[in-house]
Symmetry: C2
Subunit: 493 residues, 2 copies
């Protein structure tokens, strides 16, 4: 694909440009001809598939099943929940017609004015409305509950400023939509799924996260409570990596979803919804990668090990290939994904740079001397450390190495965050620490006005009220009014 | 979900109503509030997931990778390939605006006229245009080829008459889009994927298919050749179960996708596309199911074995459950999906009917006497045969039984088709055999006019020119003009 391996912009020089360069050069995604919509390229999509598989397994382990609901939502549905439509109306793609035709003046194909829809349809920005309209017919008795459904789908939000993976008009995601007989059961589900997201972020993405609850102004449109996980990127900005909403009876009421409870009384059903999206790929990149390219946690790397032959003749290549085939088979038997790159139109040095760029966790290189000595050179992507090892038992060594890298990548991200999270009581210090890229724990008086003023003045938002933040008397960083606990402030993606 | 287990309409009484009843009663799918769009319910979606997994593995084994392209296509793209736009213009959902707002007269939320798109966007009915527009930047040299990409996605075709799974405005599918340096390589790919679809239909869906090539009038809009697999449903109608298109250089030319070949010459890239959709779920249902409900081939059954306890006391249930847990664990260790239904609000008879309706391949029932005798009653769904067997080694027995059922379901469908496919040389016989539900091999003069007249007069279409049909001199069934081989006629879904 006619790629030139140019230098990446360094993170220090321009973090935002580094990210953009990396997404493009590592062949993860690109902008499409449609404003704000991206093409997810095979290498980027392979990461998404790994994420999907892991998440889907976790959803199923927690009792959920998948289903599929329509892409298009009648405009009137969106209006049924007041806060919901308020939140999404400004970014809706609207279908108004269902046919094209040839124009009579020969100007080509035009929209057929005769094929206008009676009611406009919205491309789903999220599916609460169409799903709760469906649930009305699924739910009559408490025996029909809970409903624990997830959907893997594309959604569309007409964002004006977009960035690959992080904010795109169309994105891929999963959205769980559950219905329950009691408030406490729905609240429990909301927190259970926050836990699933946390485990996924930490165990698979090697991404330490802070669990918390959003303030009223940052809540999902239509939710009673929005729980979230927030991660620190290398520039110190926060990225919301997943949300889980307790929706109360808002959608039950809006769509008249009632059931007869154990006592024979009619009640509105209780709802949750929760989602993560292809945005996580952006988080993965920004959390771990370096100036040489991607650094991928082994559990999500499409290729875990690449083997590059270094040869002086075709005869030697043949000998190396024979040896490598046997090694590769041993990797595969351990469930390790391996690629042998014996393409003859690229030099080893080019390949080394390419696989560093693409974040392949382990690189093996085998040359003539290795062949004689039954050795192989091994490099780990996270630290770029190299050593030469015997081929005997190399597969077990690599398995251990992959596990070590998974832990090490997590630890590095964790240590960074711990070194950059600080409690601040003074507004001037707040502003300067923010500019240095800190997560800041400060007191807040609990009002939307203050939250908004801080945002306007500093660009920091309240990322969440951390679940583990302890009660502590204090005074609001801005107004000095009393506060009972610290909240997490940061600039965010 | 407040279901009543009413009788299905029988196939004999009304095949079409039987299908409709079955889809609803077996909880596979339902119509949504959006015209022509269905809700795929969890049980139906679980079948789709099994299909996806098997197909995706086969695509990857044949060297393909997944990617994702935008949902929306600029109207002008669709117009670039003349035959393509001609084929799809009449069923396009068109996005014209990107924002809603509150109406000033308090009438609620309206489309914001100020947010009109400069160029209308079409919800993809298929993605050749947006993908080939993207490929232009991916392809410069023969070294960039082949590109072997697949996409799992939703598409929309505004059909006027819809039926659950078989024909819906929105459906889920996969679409492969490959680019090649030579004509012969693209043709080979087209046939390779036809082979993949054939293996999937026969090995997983237990559905015998006839491979063939479409006549010009039945070709995909923009294709040079459309290959297909055609299956017989129990009413003798044909269902197209997959298509693989050789697109020549049509899209390469339309989107100016050129590359420098080995000789240094600039050439348009050669294309294929191929797809199967959620329509296959309709085929699966109609090919195998009976008047008691679904019959699912074990390889695609979401639950392969259900175990129902029959007990007189909670103490007895406890004993049965202990025994069943051990058996279920042995099933799981063999990779057999098992469900133990000990719900106490339904009688065993109700459960038996329910799992027959849902097509669970094997049902085990264990009562008090079984407990004493270390036995279990086993029923296979395809033949409804029952026997009582020892619990020792039951998992191996069931494994063998599932394999046998997979073969048996295939054989039954194969035998039906073989008994209903006939060579006919006389037009009157043609018409009467067609009414009896036969696939008919007849001579045809090769003209679209004749094909069209036969369709108008009999509702039969040429399903395909079978790949294995031998050269044979003959005379057209309608016009008596010379013909060199028989083609396959049938009424179709």
């Amino acid at each position: 694909m006619a790629k030139e391996l140019k230098e990446l912009t360094s993170r220090k020089e321009n973090y935002s440009q580094w990210y953009q360069d990396l997404v493009i050069k590592a062949d993860l995604a690109e902008n499409s001809a449609v404003r704000g919509c991206m093409v997810i390229k095979p290498y980027g999509y392979a990461i998404w598939e790994k994420m999907q598989r892991a998440l889907d397994d976790m959803f199923k382990e927690t009792g959920h099943v998948n289903a599929y609901f329509p892409l298009l939502i009648p405009k009137s549905f969106l209006s049924k929940e007041a806060a919901h439509v308020e939140g999404f109306a400004k970014e809706c793609a609207v279908v108004t017609h269902y046919r094209l035709k040839n124009s009579t003046d020969g100007a080509g194909v035009i929209v057929d004015p005769a094929a206008k829809l009676e009611e406009e349809l919205i491309i789903r920005p999220t599916s609460e409305t169409i799903i709760w309209n469906t649930y009305r017919n699924w739910i009559q008795s408490y025996r029909d509950l809970p409903i624990l459904v997830n959907q893997w789908a594309n959604v569309m939000r007409w964002e004006m400023r977009t960035r690959l993976f992080l904010r795109t008009a169309e994105f891929l995601w999963q959205e769980g939509h559950t219905a329950h007989a009691t408030r406490s059961e729905a609240e429990e589900e909301t927190r259970r799924m926050l836990g699933v997201y946390t485990r996924f972020a930490e165990d698979f993405m090697a991404l330490p996260v802070i669990q918390g609850v959003k303030t009223e102004s940052e809540r999902f449109a239509g939710a009673i409570d929005t729980y979230c996980i927030e991660a620190m990127m290398q520039d110190g900005k926060a990225l919301q990596a997943g949300t889980s909403h307790f929706l109360g009876q808002n959608f039950g009421r809006a769509f008249d979803v009632t059931f007869i409870d154990k006592e024979g009384k009619s009640e509105y059903a209780w709802a949750t919804s929760w989602g993560v999206s292809t945005r996580l790929i952006g988080a993965l990149i920004m959390a771990h990668s370096d100036d040489n390219g991607l650094v991928l946690p082994p559990k999500l790397a499409p290729i875990q090990v690449v083997i590059v032959p270094i040869y002086k003749s075709m005869e030697q290549l043949k000998q190396i290939s024979e040896k490598v085939d046997a090694i590769a088979a041993r990797f595969k038997s351990l469930g390790i994904t391996v690629k042998y790159d014996d393409a003859d139109n690229r030099k080893p040095g080019w390949k080394f740079a390419e696989y560093e760029l693409k974040g392949v966790p382990v690189r093996l290189a085998m040359g003539g001397r290795d062949l004689e000595n039954n050795t192989v050179e091994i490099m780990r992507r996270d630290t770029l450390e190299k050593e030469t090892l015997s081929c005997d038992g190399i597969e077990e060594h690599v398995r251990g190495l992959l596990e070590d890298m998974q832990r090490n990548i997590y630890k590095k991200a964790y240590d960074l965050r711990q070194s950059r999270i600080i409690s601040v009581n003074d507004y001037e210090e707040f502003k300067s620490k923010l500019e240095e890229g800190f997560f800041i724990m400060s007191h807040w008086d609990g009002t939307a006005e203050t939250e908004d003023r801080i945002k306007t003045e500093t660009k920091a938002t309240i990322r969440c009220i951390p679940l583990d933040s302890e009660a502590e008397e204090g005074r609001c960083i801005l107004t000095g009014k009393p506060s009972s606990r610290r909240v997490l402030f940061a600039k965010a993606y």
